[in-house]
Amino acid sequence: MSGAATSPQLDIVFRHHPVHGTWLDRRRFRWPYALSRAFRAEGGPAHMLMLIVQTVSGAIQAEDRLSQRIHVGAGAAARVVTQGATPIHRAAAGLASRDAVTLQVEPGGMLEYLPELRILFPDANLEQHMCVRIAEGAMALLADGFVLHDPAAEARPFRRLEATLTVQGPGGTMLAAERIDLAAPPRSRGRRAPFQAHGSLVLATCRRAVWLEAVSEDATTALSHHPGLYAAASPLPNNAGVVARIAAIDGRHLRLGLQAACGVFRRHARCAPPPEGDRALDAAAALHAVT
């Protein structure tokens, strides 16, 4: 699954048509990606289009330099998923797999970017960067999660995981950012030890604090009912959305947690009030100097 990084291997643009709903305006892809036809999605707006991004190998190798760009036009609604969990294979010393995803959602647009979990094999070295830019009134639902797997059942660790998520407002101002940089998976002891699968679901959207707090309260309540999870939700900085943080005993439970949070976020997203507007953007403008 190797490829040059000069232009994204996957470049998709969704647009909204007043009669026919969301349609695919651009669907450029090359090795290792493959796309089939898009179809109408369940659980979202009626005009939402769903696309399954497939890869030939279904895995990420050490030399891979992957890049995706997904653009959702004003008023369009799209859900992008992957064919299954993605193994990140061993990288020899000095090599790293790189995966960059750039997402942009125009005013009133909705993007659900819900890739399946990453499976980190022993000596995997992954650099993963996701950046989403949301316009006023736009929403982006983003899932991210990883599990560990050693085929020899010897609990051999990955070599490195660096993952960044950046939420930008209009114009590219940074509203929220998170970075993980691990040289090995942290090994907790005692009753914390079973939580080896970790993930987040982010609903990126500039809304009023009171609405974001209500969403996170509901998500925390929903997540507290699932065995095998330790999870909660919180409003993001600068009123940029909500994050559900999920620790699980395995990938199956992590998926269940992500689905539960997804259900809450979608339910609230369907009846979201008008966007937060100026306040969040003013706060974000001040950030620009440091970023």
């Binding site: 002891r189 005692g190 707090e213 919180s234 900085p237 943080r245 440091v290």
Partner: protein
């Protein structure tokens, strides 16, 4: 002892009796105890070690070093806004600001002009005043070198956690001393290499983060975080 004045300055700011509000925060420990995920001294040592290596070292220390190097208010504010943006948990943000503002308040009352000046800026913006940033500002203003400021900040984290664990009844005073002794060496190892302030701050303490989010909803709790 040529460095006596510098050491005494550090001792004063790192003293658990320094009234900077640190006693009000457990940074997730209370929630982990309440949820049954921390039950004994080994658990406490494990949690504090992870906070030190997977949060303080790669996030708080980075922010502190940037704030310590800031030569003007605009740069200080920019670092503070970065601290806000990289803290995904709302209760953690609130706790960090509350602790930072408490430190600012004490230093302003002690007559530190830099603290008074930054307190005025923070009064106009509720998102300012994160602890690591305020530590960088006031420790420099008090006369600490950056390495000494990093040391005081790291030690304050270790002693604050162990103190919280004692008050939560998870460990006794002798166990707290054992934990701080072991982590003193870990902190020294971290401080032996310079911080990497140019990087985007990083952290990975998901269970403690979740505990803070969940603890925030409890009606009866001892700590703010």
């Amino acid at each position: 002892m040529a460095d006596a004045a510098a050491l005494l300055l550090a001792l004063q700011f790192a003293d658990s009796a320094f009234p900077a509000g640190g006693f009000a925060f457990s940074w997730g420990l209370e929630g982990l105890v309440a949820d049954g995920l921390v039950t004994d001294a080994d658990d406490v040592a494990d949690v504090v070690a992870q906070q030190l290596t997977l949060r303080w070292q790669s996030m708080d220390r980075v922010l502190l070093v940037r704030a310590h190097a800031a030569n003007d208010a605009a740069t200080q504010v920019a670092v503070d806004r970065l601290a806000e943006a990289v803290t995904f948990s709302a209760p953690m943000r609130a706790g960090s600001r509350r602790a930072g503002r408490a430190l600012l308040g004490v230093c302003a009352r002690l007559g530190l002009p830099a603290a008074t000046a930054y307190q005025a800026l923070a009064a106009d913006d509720a998102r300012l005043g994160h602890l690591a940033v305020v530590q960088g500002i006031v420790y420099r203003a008090a006369g600490m070198t950056c390495p000494m400021a990093e040391l005081v900040s790291g030690w304050s984290l270790i002693s604050g956690f162990s103190s919280a664990a004692v008050r939560l009844g998870v460990i006794g005073h002798v166990e707290a001393l054992r934990i701080t002794t072991a982590l003193r060496a870990a902190l020294a190892d971290l401080l032996a290499a310079p911080a990497r302030p140019a990087e985007l701050p990083a952290s990975f303490t998901p269970l403690a983060d979740i505990a803070v989010m969940r603890n925030h909803r409890r009606d009866l709790r001892m700590f703010a975080t």
